[in-house]
């Protein structure tokens, strides 16, 4: 019994230590962001690496989700004679939920893993230690620009996902099924609130961007400097980021959309 309690205590202490380390690194990163912005090319290069290079998968997924939403939405709406609300349904689903959440999950898989593997391999190859010994702080030079780039990229990727999804829904709903184009766009325009729907969607993508980029960087930075360690860290990034995004989405949705 005492052995069990001791192991429980050790585990709890381990979790607290991890949370403490993570919080300290987060505060450090936020504090280092302005210093990192003095050399904007470091951040823009990362926006290109983690943002631009994620464009294809984001756009392709946005198109697929838009196509499926339009098909499923049309079947249900047409039962109630509300097929012309298809544009509104797809737009609300995309900007409020699907856009931010699916973009964040794809981002964790595409960019998050690449960040974790890159930082982990830099650690394994002693590149971070070499920077330290050259009096260059890796948190300012390596982590902060990537953190900023993630925060900048995520809302943009989320917006592209939703825009492509709406266009795909237009293709299915208007061009293929034959819903009136005017009704498709005007219902969307009337029903989607810029602040409440789009604004909250953007806030979600920013929060998800902060969470998944930080998780990827933290796990990479703390990873064991071995091939197994880096492999494990990469997997962990996807699992922890995805669960965090889904949990945060529930909390944010409850806060943002709890009143009709």
């Amino acid at each position: 019994m005492s052995e069990f309690l001791a192991s429980l205590g050790r585990r709890a202490l381990g979790i607290l230590a991890t949370l403490g380390h993570a919080t300290a690194l987060f505060v450090d990163l936020v504090r280092n962001c302005p210093q990192s912005l003095r050399r904007p090319y470091l951040t823009t290069a990362q926006v290109h690496a983690i943002g631009n290079r994620s464009l294809i998968i984001i756009a392709a997924s946005g198109a697929t989700v838009g196509l499926v939403l339009a098909l499923q939405g049309y079947i249900t709406l047409s039962r109630y004679g509300a097929a012309e609300s298809l544009g509104l349904l797809v737009a609300l689903a995309l900007v409020r939920e699907m856009g931010p959440v699916v973009t964040a999950l794809l981002y964790a898989g595409r960019a998050g893993t690449s960040l974790t593997a890159e930082i982990g391999l830099m650690k394994a190859g002693e590149q971070l230690a070499a920077m330290e010994m050259m009096a260059v702080d890796p948190r300012v030079r390596v982590l902060a620009p990537r953190f900023l780039a993630g925060i900048i990229s995520m809302p943009l990727l989320g917006a592209i996902f939703s825009a492509v999804g709406v266009l795909a829904a237009y293709v299915v709903g208007v061009l293929m099924i034959g819903i009136d184009s005017g009704a498709f766009w005007s219902q969307m325009q009337d029903g989607v609130d810029v602040v409440k729907d789009i604004g909250n969607g953007v806030v979600k993508t920013i929060v998800f961007g902060i969470a998944s980029t930080f998780i990827a960087l933290y796990i990479g930075y703390e990873s064991e400097a071995t091939p197994e360690g880096v492999a494990q860290a990469t997997t962990q990034t996807v699992v922890v980021s995805s669960l965090s995004v889904l949990s945060l989405d529930f909390i944010l949705t409850a806060l943002m959309f709890s009143t009709p």
């Binding site: 002693e126 230690a129 070499a130 330290e132 050259m134 009096a135 260059v136 702080d137």
Partner: protein
């Protein structure tokens, strides 16, 4: 005469780095126990010992990467304070470190790797950076390789690029972590000669951590032998070679058994195999 104890070395007041009664360990495992060493300015000093004896730990202590649990380390007479990041970084700008496998930035070219500390710590013009980088690369014989990617250079060349990077800011001390490990005989000889010549040309202090007795003795002015977390001998290469201390002789001659046992402590062999009485 080699001194098989932990008294402070004969470096006198000319010491650039002074390690005084330092103890360091990880949890219950003691890596260094009450060791004292001094490294004279302008000298090539070797710290030798078998793998895991605490040699690299000494470099990490000097670089302020880790903090001793007891004792102190002085650099140019001032204690190394690992709690103050800005003063620690100011100190590290006066140091150069060659990592065992180079630790080069694989996303940058050879030129950009050497230019890295210059770009980070100086406001020199692009022309000036170019000239300095080419001079440093020329010193290690790789001026012609400036445009190559890191993936295109061999292990020995990578070590030399890392050396050019380590001396880019003309440090007062250059620390070499296993500079001869994994090199072919030609690269090994080239690296050893470079360490000696660069030291003589720049007037820096060179600290080599290695277990390559032959190469270390060929180029160093003074050597320490570390074993079991203690300094077991110190002296010039000639003094160490002449010593009668059995542990030093075993290490220098590479004998498999002696004071350092070949077998890890274990139960009697008959007991493990269930034979005999």
């Amino acid at each position: 005469m080699a001194q098989p104890h932990d008294a402070i070395g004969a470096a006198g007041n000319n010491a650039l780095v002074s390690i005084q009664e330092v103890t360091f360990g990880y949890d219950a495992r003691v890596v260094l126990s009450n060791v004292s060493l001094e490294f004279d300015r302008g000298k090539v000093i070797a710290i030798m010992g078998s793998s895991g004896c605490g040699k690299t730990t000494l470099l990490r202590l000097i670089g302020g990467v880790i903090t001793p649990q007891a004792g102190k380390i002085l650099f140019s007479g001032a204690p190394i304070d690992t709690s103050d990041r800005s003063s620690l970084y100011a100190l590290r700008r006066r140091m150069g470190m060659l990592f065992q496998f180079g630790a080069l930035f694989t996303d940058l070219s050879v030129f950009e790797n050497v230019a890295y500390p210059l770009r980070e710590h100086t406001r020199l013009s692009e022309q000036m950076i170019r000239d300095i980088v080419l001079m440093k690369l020329d010193a290690v014989g790789l001026r012609g390789a400036a445009t190559l990617r890191i993936a295109e250079v061999s292990g020995g060349m990578a070590r030399r690029v890392a050396l050019a990077r380590a001396i880019a800011l003309d440090p007062e001390i250059i620390m070499y972590d296993e500079p001869f490990a994994g090199l072919d005989p030609i690269s090994l000889g080239v690296t050893a000669n470079l360490i000696r010549h660069l030291n003589d040309a720049t007037g820096a202090t060179s600290l080599i951590v290695s277990h390559d007795v032959e190469e270390c003795f060929r180029i160093c002015d003074f050597a320490y032998l570390v074993s079991g977390g203690r300094v077991v001998a110190r002296g010039t290469p000639q003094q160490l070679q002449a010593t009668e201390d059995p542990e030093v002789r075993q290490f220098i001659r590479g004998e498999p058994d002696g004071p350092v046992r070949f077998h890890y402590p274990a139960a009697p062999i008959a007991q493990d195999f269930g034979i005999g009485a």
